[in-house]
Symmetry: C2
Subunit: 223 residues, 2 copies
Amino acid sequence: MAVRKPRLGRDDWTAAALTAIGEQGLAGVAVEPLAARLGTTKGSFYWHFANRDALLAAALSSWDETYTDAILRTVDAEADPTARLRALFVAVTASERAPVEVHLHAAADHPAVAPAMRRAVARRTAYITAQLTALGFDQAEAERRALFAYATYLGHIQLVVRIPEAVPQGPALEAYLGTVLAAVLGNSKTAANSSQAGTGSSSGMAAGRSANSESSNSSALSP
Amino acid sequence: MAVRKPRLGRDDWTAAALTAIGEQGLAGVAVEPLAARLGTTKGSFYWHFANRDALLAAALSSWDETYTDAILRTVDAEADPTARLRALFVAVTASERAPVEVHLHAAADHPAVAPAMRRAVARRTAYITAQLTALGFDQAEAERRALFAYATYLGHIQLVVRIPEAVPQGPALEAYLGTVLAAVLGNSKTAANSSQAGTGSSSGMAAGRSANSESSNSSALSP
DNA sequence: GTCTCTCCATACGGTTCCGTATGGAGGAGG
DNA sequence: CCTCCTCCATACGGAACCGTATGGAGAGAC
C-alpha cells in the first residue's frame, strides 16, 4: 500500500474540474483547492495548463462531449421520433447529470461559459425541434414546443438540485414526467380552432398533429 | 450642484444589495464594491450592519416581500382562479423580475439563501395549487400541474436571462406563453378516463377540468 | 458655543485565491 | 554512470475581499 504518485495528466485535472463544477459550480474550479484534492500542488497544474481559463475551457469541452454529443448520439439510435424524445427525456432526467447542468447554466454569464452554453442550447433545442417536425408539427409549432420542453427541463433539474423536496419521488415522479412529456407531444388545444381528434401513435400517446400555426392563441394571455 | 452627502441608511444598502444580486448574483453582494458604488466606504456599512451575512439577510427579506408577497397580493385581487393564474403568468414574466429571480435560484445552495428560497417556492406552488383545485382539479393533479408550471417558469426566466436569443420576442413570445398557460390549465388528456365537466370560469378559456388522478400515465415513459 | 450622539473615513491585519520563479526528483537514453 | 527531459514542490508577490480599530465631521440639545 505505498502512496503511489500517480503522475497526473491533463485529463485528470479536467475531470476534477468537471466534478468540482457539479459540486460547487464555477467557483469550484480553483487551482489551489483542486490541487489539494488531487494530492498535488499548483506546480503540477501550471505545467499542464496556461492558467485557470484554460482548465475551464477544457472542462467545458469535456462537458459538451459527454452532456450533449454523447446523449444525442445514444438517443438518436432509437427507432422513431417519439421513442427518441422519450429516451431523451429519460436520459436527461437521470439525476447524476443535474448538478453539472444546473451549475453550468447558472454560470452562463461567464464569458467562457456563455458561448458553450449558447451552442449547447441551440443544438439541443434543434434536435427536439427536428423530432417534432418529423412527427408532423409545422416548424413554428415545433420550435415553440421544443423551447417549452427545454424550459421545463431546465426548471426541473434546477428544482431537483436546489429544492429537492419540492419534487416528487419514485412513481409519482414518473407520473409527473409522463404528464410533462404528454404535454409536449400531445395536442395542447390552445385556441378554438383545430379540433380534429387525436391520431394516437402506436405507442399509445397522442402525437403527430400539425397544430395551429401560431397567431391565434395569444388569446390565452389577453382576455 | 454640490456633492450632497445623502447620509445613507440601512435601506439604501439593502436596496443596493438586491440590485447587485440582479446584476451579478450573490457575488455582487460584496461590501467594498457596494460601498464604492454608493460613494461611501466600509465604515458606513459596518455601522449599519454587523457583517455581510446581515446585509444578505436583509436583501432576502426585501426580496421575499416584493417578489412573492406583493405579487401574490396583487394577483389574488383578480375575480376568479383562471384570471388569477393568468395575471400571475403575466406579472411573473415581466422582464425586470427575471435577473434577480434567476440569480437567487442559482444561489439556492448558499446557507442563507436556501431557507428563503424553499419558503418562496413552497408558497408560490401552494398558491398555484390552490387556484387549480378551485378550478376542479383534484389535489394530486393540481400539485402536479403547479410543479409543472413552476418548473416551466424557472426554465423560462433562466433562458431569458442567460440565452435571450433562444426566446422569441414580441407576439411570438405571447403566443408561446399562451401555449404554456393553456398546457397548465387545459386538459392534457394523458389517459383515457375522467371526463366530468368543469366549473368553467367566466373569462373564456378552456379550464377547470378534473383530470385523471395519477397512477395511469407513466405509460408515457415506459412503452 | 460646547456637548454629545450618530454616522462615516482611513488604516490595518487576515484569508483565499491567481500567477511566476526556481529548484529539484526521477526515469529514459546514451 | 551521466545527462537530459518531464513533471512536480516550494516560495514569493499581488489582487480582492472581510472584518476591526480608531479618529474625526456634522447636526441637534441645551
